[in-house]
Every structure is written in structure tokens, then in C-alpha cells.
């Protein structure tokens, strides 16, 4: 006789845990997507929402998405790692994106980038030890007319020169201190 395995129906529990790993808005969004005949085609859109909220795609969140959208976890990982826009690690408070597109490159983006690395003491893809800044390179922000361009959070700074870097960083350090003070009150 074949050995009998007891059915392990933990579906509800997995579902509950998946919902907990995300936010109610994201769960609701996944549920609307699930109604589409091509539900899995919304995977990238869902990952965008997760990253917008959490700042990156954590393992727990990716598994939750896989579960709720009913796609294999391997596929979620495959997609998350294929596209440059998705990040698998948390980042600093201010994300500095240096445009490395053609227009910026010929207008001296490299020197701005060098100066940023120097001032922050980090390389591209890294975060400062105080967790304040992450440095990333990006491909054309679509504002080539203002080259070279960097973007801090979603603000764009055009016509950058290396000499403007220290003051710009200082401004953000002060901003962070101010916000901390306000939150502390």
C-alpha cells in the first residue's frame, strides 16, 4: 500500500501571512488585477506598488505577491532581478540618482559623479553609513536640456558642476536634521 500523507491545508494561513506582509491598498490592487483574464501580466505593476511603499522589494513581500497573484515565486524573483528599476535592498533616506545618459555624459556627468563619490565616501550602489544617502546611476531622466542632471528623491537639479555638490549635500543633511527635530517634538 502507498504511504498516506496527511493533507496539509495551510492555504488560509499562508494567505493571512501574505496579506500581513503587504498593505491593504496593495492587497486590494492585487485583487483587482486578479480579475483580469491575464492576471499575471500585472506582476510588474504590483512590484512597482510594493517598491513605492517599502522602498525596495523584500523577500517577504515578493513571496506574498507570488502567493496572492498566484504566480511562482521563481517568476517573481526572475522579474524583480531582470529589471534595473527594482531593488532588493533597502536604501538611504535620500536617494541620489546621477544621470549617466549621453547628453549628461558629454556635458561632464562623470566629474559630478566622482565628486559625489568623494564627498560621500561611497561608490555607486552603496549607502552612507549614517543611512542618509544612497548613490545610484540612472539612464536619462528626460531632461537632457539641463545636462548634467542629478535627481535627489524626485527633485531634479540641472546644470550641475562638481563644485555645487558639497552645498547640495549639506542642504539635505540640514533638512534631515530639521525633520528629525520636528518629529522629535
Amino acid at each position: 500500500m502507498m504511504p498516506v500523507t496527511t493533507a496539509t491545508n495551510n492555504r488560509e494561513e499562508v494567505r493571512r501571512r501574505s496579506i500581513e506582509a503587504l498593505t491593504p491598498e496593495i492587497v486590494a490592487y492585487i485583487e483587482t488585477c486578479a480579475q483580469d483574464a491575464h492576471a499575471s501580466s500585472h506582476l510588474i505593476g504590483v512590484l512597482h506598488k510594493v517598491q513605492a511603499h517599502f522602498g525596495y522589494l523584500g523577500r517577504e513581500q515578493m513571496d506574498a505577491v507570488a502567493q496572492l497573484l498566484q504566480v511562482p515565486a521563481s517568476k517573481v524573483t526572475g522579474v524583480a532581478t531582470f529589471y534595473h528599476f527594482f531593488r532588493l535592498e533597502p536604501r538611504g533616506r535620500f536617494v541620489i540618482n546621477v544621470c549617466l545618459g549621453t547628453a549628461c555624459y558629454v556635458k561632464g556627468a562623470e566629474r559630478v559623479a566622482d565628486r559625489l563619490c568623494e564627498e560621500l565616501g561611497i561608490h555607486f550602489g552603496e549607502t552612507t553609513r549614517d543611512g542618509l544617502f544612497s548613490l545610484e546611476g540612472t539612464r536619462c531622466l528626460g531632461t537632457c536640456g539641463l545636462a548634467p542632471v542629478i535627481m535627489i528623491e524626485d527633485r531634479i537639479f540641472g546644470d550641475m558642476t562638481p563644485d555645487q555638490v558639497p552645498a547640495l549635500l549639506e542642504k539635505h543633511v540640514l533638512q534631515a536634521q530639521r525633520e528629525d527635530r520636528q518629529n522629535g517634538d
Partner: protein, 726 residues
């Protein structure tokens, strides 16, 4: 049915007009402020707030603040326009809070133009402007003759020379209405009247009655509205703009991109209504085919043929996709179009959907364009509310819905089969064609993919006719092309010119040439898939075929000007690094070939290249070109091949002499302080980021070569030319 559609459309127009009237768009003083990613980056939001505050405190109710998209004059943003009834519109550049305040108090309240801030110093104290159309296919009288006639007749009529400006424009597109050839079109501002001129007698009458007497000459006047009259009315005095021909960008910088009413008020959706009322998709395809519209995404495939293939498929579930992935790093036409005039693209897509018989369409947009995404979302919602999207559009029985799908930063997803995989929620890897998407695309169904700009042209073709569109371009390629002009050029921004315009005209007449009196070395077109075009070929007419023959491609419209300081080996390396990074890894020639080519280029720029490397590079480039799976790999060698073709001597200098002629490659540059010239001002030492320059005040300074990082700071800051660069 046709009647029902027309009456529904007429009702929409009425509502739109009423909404615009309530805003006071034709009766009030309008302050228009640009609002697009680039405008906002330059500070347009602060400027808007400043005007808001000023209007509030002044208590005036006859002033309306108005958002427009971006006109594409990037380096002068934020741009503000002041439109007063019966006056020439005045445009201001690089407006800050302070300038905004000044504009408000001096110009709007005091009636005096703030000349110092005028866009390209355009606002001379003229009261009137006569713009002569210089398009190639225009009337018989050459423009210079016409100009002379005007000058002479104005003098005879006693018109004050300083009060009327005579301008020759690149092409105003007024020929849309010029049924009989042999006439010339002119535009007179601020009345915004188009005249048809047959002979000198007409010129005499216009000079006497209109320019001197202030009375419009009704019998010579054109009653219809041309496609670019609004653009010229607002921007006609600015050289950067009046040399252009705005078709795809017809509404950019004119309408509020978030208002469907403004779009409809300027005849938006009339092409769709017309097509639906005719009830014949084949007519649409026929018109598009006759117009000789070719895809603006880079491939240049005839749009009419593509649509026909989609329509003729026996499978009736069909899809339509707008490719707004804009991956070329250095191009921003599509972003600007979507941010400044999303409705035109939507209308083009609906017409396309109707023509091929699709009921579901997709916008595939880069996630890096958040504002464009918001504007499309807003536009789609407005269309839905007004019965222009969804079930039974305008009561025609045709139903179509559009949705947005986001990219996630992969260049290869601009390639159509990769894009389809991405919409399906997969990794964006391409597959072998055929089958082409028009046979088997999204979820295996026939799918037509077109670029943003391709769609934006469609409504204009239906409204003004395929003949008009075709005559604007070249024999095999109709219409205009939008370029994103950037790099070492004075006026950066969006340039729309007819196919066949020369590169020289774009770079010099519109772009204002190279800054700082440097010499132009080459123009790079087509991004990572394109090549460089050296100065001696600048007179080549721009088109898909001509640029292809030169070893570059037209591409999607990126145009980067390179000057003497740019090293061509470095440029090739830059693009190769890009392609290598973006290669999806599926096929070996592209994955491995780009990597090996990059290694060779790196070696050369580091001064470790050998003579054999050049042949190796050429062989490898040829191989990758021939054997890659998709367009990315097949085009990746282009930058290398074209730089090798035209600038082989630069490669040779790197390899044989270990020198970088442009002094760009760090490993091959050497900085030294010339003792005879150094006065010991300490400027270089103070600016050296690594502190490797030693020397006391008023004494010779010396660079410690072992620590020098070759950043070039000392060379730049020295005011005595005492730093030598080799």
C-alpha cells in the same frame, strides 16, 4: 449613424468652448507657465506660486494663470508667456520668483515689457510682425523677393520700420489650405491673420491697408485655421521656434495638457469623429499609407502597411500598443509629447485601434517618467467621462479601452517582442521574428505597436489630408521628425523639422551652433544603436535612408552634438558600456560580443591598446551585427563601426602614440606646471581635490605625478595658462 456621431462631437465642442470661456481663455489676460518635468526642474512650480500670490494680492479678476506643457526650449526654462488681448504675446525665459514678481508689476500692471528677461531677447518694441513662410514646397515667389517687396511697400506706405518686424519662418504648414499653387502664405501678428499672396499688388495692399492703416484686408485673408497658426501666434518671434514646423508637437506649449476641453476646443478628436462618421477603417489605412508616414520609433517601417497587416489577420481579437519606453539615453521627445499633449497620442491610438479593429490598447511607459504617467492617467479618465473611450465611442458602435503598463528600466523592452513579454508580466527578453507581432503578438494575438510620435501624427494626417503630409517630407517619407537636441549646442531642446532638412540647419540655424567658440566634431544620432556623423556630412538631408547610408540611423530622435573636446573612442566606449549593460543575455553574440568589444575599447582608452586591436574590434563588430537575435545586438556595433570609419585616426593615436587627441581619456593625459608661467598664486593648489600640488605663495608650484588623479581642475582654474595638458 454618421450624423449621430457628428452631433455628439458638436456637443462636445460646445461644452469645451463654454468651459474655456468660463476660464476666460479668450477674454482675460493670460499668464502661461510651462509645466513639465524639465520646466519644474528649472523652477516653474515656484514661479507659478509667485504669480498666484501676486494675482491674489492685486485683487484683479481679469487675469488667468494657465498651465501649458513644454515647448521644448529646455535651456531657457522656466518659460512664461504673457498674452494680452490685441497685443503681441511676450515670452520670458529663465523666470525666477523675483522675475515673476517684476513681470507682474511692470508688465501686467504697468504695461511695460521686462525686456531683460524676454526669451532670446525677442520682445523688441515692435507692435507687429509679418512672418513669411519659407517652406520648400511653398509658392513661386522666393522668400527673399517677398521680403524685399514688403520692405519697399512698407516704406512707400509710411510704415514705421521699427514697429513691424519681418521674419522668415522655416515653414508654417499653412499650405494645408492653399488649394491653388503659386501663392505664398504670410502670417501677421498680433491679429493672427493669414494672407495668401499672389503678386506684388497684394503686398502693396497689405502694407497700405493693414500694416499702415490697421485694417485687415478681408479679400486676401485665409478663413480656415492652419495646423501651426497657434504655435506661430505664440512663439513666432523666437528664432529657435520659427525655423521649425510643428505637426506632432502642434499643441505642445499651447494647451493645458490636463484639460480635455482645451484639446477639443482646438479641434481635438475631430479626426476621430471624422473617421468614425465615415465608418470605413480601410479609408483610414489608405490615408495613412498615402501620407508616407513611417514609424518614428527608429525602424521607420511604413505605418500604413503595418496597420494593413494587423487588419488583414483572420484572428479578430487584436491589440494595439503605444511604445513610450523611450530608452535612448539622451532623447526626451516622447516624454515631452506625453506631458504636453497626451490627448493627441490617445486620439491617434483610438484611430489606429479603429483602423485595425482592436478593442484593447496599451500604453507602455517608462517608470522613470512619473509626470507623463500621471498626465496619461488623467487624460484617459477625461476621455472616459466624455464618451471618447470605452463602450460605443461617440455613439459609433466602436468600443476601445486603453490602459497603462509600466516599464521598469530595461532598454531592451523598447524592442517590440521584448515589450510584449514585459506587458505579459515576464522578463523582457526578445524572441526571434517572424512571426511578427502583427501575426502573433500580445498573448499570441495580432498586435500593432507604434511609437508615441507616430500616433501623434495620425490625427493631423486625417484632418489635413495625406497629400499635405506627404509633400512636407521626402519622396519615401512624409511629414516631420522631432529631435531632442542636446550636448554641445547653444540651444538645447525639441526641434521638429520636415524630413529632408539638413543636419546643419538643425544644429546651426535652430540650435545656434556650438558654445564657447569650439568646433563641432560630429553629431551623434540614433543613440546606442546609431552612429556619428562628422562635420563634413552636415549638409545631408535627414531621413531614415540617408542617415543609414552614412552608417548611422535616424533612431527615435536623439541628437547629441559633439565638439573638439569629445574623444570618439570614449564615445564608442560609452555606448558599448550601455549596450553591454542592457544586453538581456539571451543570445551569445550580443551577451559576449558586447563585453569583449567593451574590454578592447577600455584597453585602448587606458593606453594599453595594440595595433591588432582595431582589426579585432572590426571583426567582432561585424560578427555581432550579423548574428545577434534582436535589434539591440544588431545595432550595438554601430557606434564603434561609425567612429572607426570616420575617426580611425583617433583610435590610432590612442593605440600607436598613446595619446588622446581630445585630452579626454584620463590615462593618456598628463598635467604639468610650466615654471616660466607660474606666478605662485596658489589657485591650483587650493583647488586640487587630492592636494597633490605643492608650492608656497609667489613660488613655482609642482604637481606630484604619482598622486595626480588627472581631474583637470588645475588646468581649468589657472588664470595664467601655466598648466600644460598633453
Amino acid at each position: 449613424m454618421g450624423k449621430d456621431i457628428s452631433s455628439r462631437y458638436a456637443a462636445l465642442c460646445e461644452t469645451a468652448q463654454a468651459a474655456c470661456d468660463t476660464l476666460g481663455l479668450s477674454s482675460k489676460i493670460i499668464i502661461q507657465v510651462g509645466s513639465a518635468t524639465c520646466e519644474n526642474a528649472a523652477g516653474a512650480t515656484e514661479v507659478w506660486k509667485e504669480f498666484e500670490r501676486n494675482i491674489r494680492t492685486s485683487g484683479r479678476e481679469d487675469i488667468q494663470l494657465h498651465h501649458v506643457g513644454c515647448t521644448g526650449r529646455c535651456s531657457r526654462e522656466p518659460i512664461v508667456g504673457v498674452l494680452m488681448p490685441d497685443k503681441m504675446p511676450v515670452l520670458y525665459q529663465k523666470v525666477t520668483r523675483d522675475i515673476a514678481h517684476e513681470i507682474f508689476t511692470r508688465h501686467i500692471q504697468g504695461g511695460e515689457v521686462v525686456a531683460g528677461a524676454a526669451l532670446e531677447k525677442s520682445a523688441a518694441p515692435m507692435q507687429r510682425q509679418v512672418i513669411l513662410c519659407e517652406a520648400r514646397h511653398c509658392g513661386n515667389t522666393s522668400c527673399s523677393d517677398l521680403g524685399d517687396w514688403f520692405r519697399e511697400e512698407m516704406e512707400k506706405a509710411g510704415v514705421d520700420e521699427d514697429a513691424v518686424a519681418l521674419t522668415q519662418a522655416g515653414g508654417m504648414g499653412f499650405c494645408t489650405m492653399r488649394k491653388n499653387t503659386g501663392t505664398n502664405c504670410i502670417l501677421v501678428r498680433p491679429e493672427n491673420v493669414i494672407y495668401f499672396i499672389k503678386d506684388r499688388a497684394d503686398v502693396e495692399r497689405i502694407a497700405r491697408e493693414h500694416l499702415a492703416g490697421g485694417r485687415i484686408v478681408d479679400s486676401l485673408r485665409c478663413k480656415e485655421e492652419s495646423i501651426s497658426v497657434r504655435f506661430f501666434d505664440r512663439y513666432g518671434d523666437v528664432a529657435f521656434f520659427n525655423q521649425q514646423n510643428r505637426i506632432a508637437l502642434r499643441n505642445a506649449g499651447i494647451v493645458d495638457p490636463e484639460s480635455i476641453h482645451e484639446y477639443i476646443r482646438y479641434h481635438g478628436f475631430s479626426a476621430l469623429a471624422q473617421a468614425l462618421a465615415k465608418g470605413d477603417p480601410d479609408w483610414v489605412i489608405d490615408e495613412i499609407t498615402k501620407s508616407k508616414l513611417r514609424g518614428r520609433g527608429g525602424g521607420g517601417y511604413p505605418t500604413g502597411l503595418k496597420w494593413k497587416a494587423g487588419r488583414e489577420n483572420t484572428e479578430t481579437t487584436r491589440y494595439l500598443i503605444c511604445n513610450a519606453d523611450e530608452g535612448d539615453p539622451g532623447a526626451f521627445m516622447d516624454r515631452s509629447m506625453l506631458e504636453s499633449d497626451p490627448f493627441s497620442v490617445i486620439e491617434g491610438m483610438l484611430i489606429g485601434g479603429y483602423a485595425i479593429g482592436a478593442s484593447r490598447g496599451f500604453f507602455y511607459v517608462r517608470a522613470e517618467y512619473p509626470l507623463a504617467i500621471r498626465r496619461i492617467e488623467n487624460a484617459l479618465a477625461a476621455c472616459r467621462e466624455n464618451g471618447l473611450l470605452g463602450d460605443n465611442i461617440l455613439g459609433s458602435g466602436f468600443s476601445m479601452d486603453l490602459e497603462i503598463r509600466l516599464g521598469a528600466g530595461a532598454f531592451v523592452c523598447g524592442e517590440e517582442t521584448a515589450l510584449i513579454h514585459s506587458i505579459e508580466g515576464e522578463r523582457g527578453q526578445p524572441r526571434i521574428r517572424p512571426p511578427y507581432p502583427t501575426d502573433s503578438g500580445l498573448w499570441g494575438k495580432p498586435t500593432v505597436i507604434n511609437n508615441v510620435e507616430t500616433f501623434a501624427n495620425v490625427p493631423a494626417i486625417l484632418v489635413y489630408g495625406s497629400d499635405w503630409f506627404r509633400t512636407m517630407g521626402l519622396e519615401n517619407s512624409g511629414g516631420t521628425k522631432v529631435f531632442a537636441l542636446a550636448g554641445k549646442v547653444n540651444h538645447t531642446g525639441l526641434v521638429e523639422v520636415p524630413m529632408g532638412t539638413s543636419l546643419r540647419q538643425v544644429v546651426y540655424n535652430i540650435g545656434g551652433g556650438v558654445p564657447k567658440k569650439k568646433t563641432l566634431k560630429a553629431v551623434q544620432t540614433g543613440g546606442p544603436a546609431g552612429g556619428v556623423i562628422p562635420e563634413e556630412f552636415l549638409d545631408t538631408p535627414i531621413d531614415f535612408d540617408t542617415l543609414g547610408k552614412l552608417g548611422s540611423i535616424m533612431g527615435s530622435g536623439g541628437m547629441i552634438v559633439l565638439d573638439e573636446d569629445d574623444c570618439m573612442v570614449d564615445v564608442a566606449k560609452f555606448f558599448m558600456a550601455f549596450c553591454q549593460d542592457e544586453s538581456c543575455g539571451k543570445c551569445t553574440p550580443c551577451r559576449e560580443g558586447t563585453k569583449r568589444m567593451l574590454e578592447i575599447l577600455e584597453r585602448i582608452t587606458e593606453g594599453k591598446g595594440e595595433p591588432a586591436d582595431l582589426e579585432k574590434l572590426e571583426r567582432l563588430a561585424d560578427l555581432v551585427k550579423k548574428s545577434s537575435l534582436c535589434g539591440l545586438g544588431r545595432a550595438a556595433p554601430n557606434p564603434v563601426l561609425s567612429t572607426l570609419k570616420y575617426f580611425r585616426h583617433e583610435y590610432e593615436a590612442h593605440v600607436l602614440e598613446k595619446k588622446c587627441p581630445a585630452h579626454k581619456c584620463k590615462a593618456l593625459v598628463h598635467y604639468e606646471i610650466i615654471p616660466e608661467k607660474c606666478v605662485g598664486c596658489t589657485m591650483c593648489a587650493r583647488n586640487c581635490p587630492v592636494g597633490c600640488i605643492a608650492g608656497a605663495r609667489k613660488e613655482n608650484h609642482v604637481i606630484d605625478q604619482s598622486r595626480c588623479i588627472k581631474c583637470g581642475r588645475c588646468f581649468e582654474v589657472c588664470r595664467f595658462d601655466a598648466v600644460a595638458r598633453q
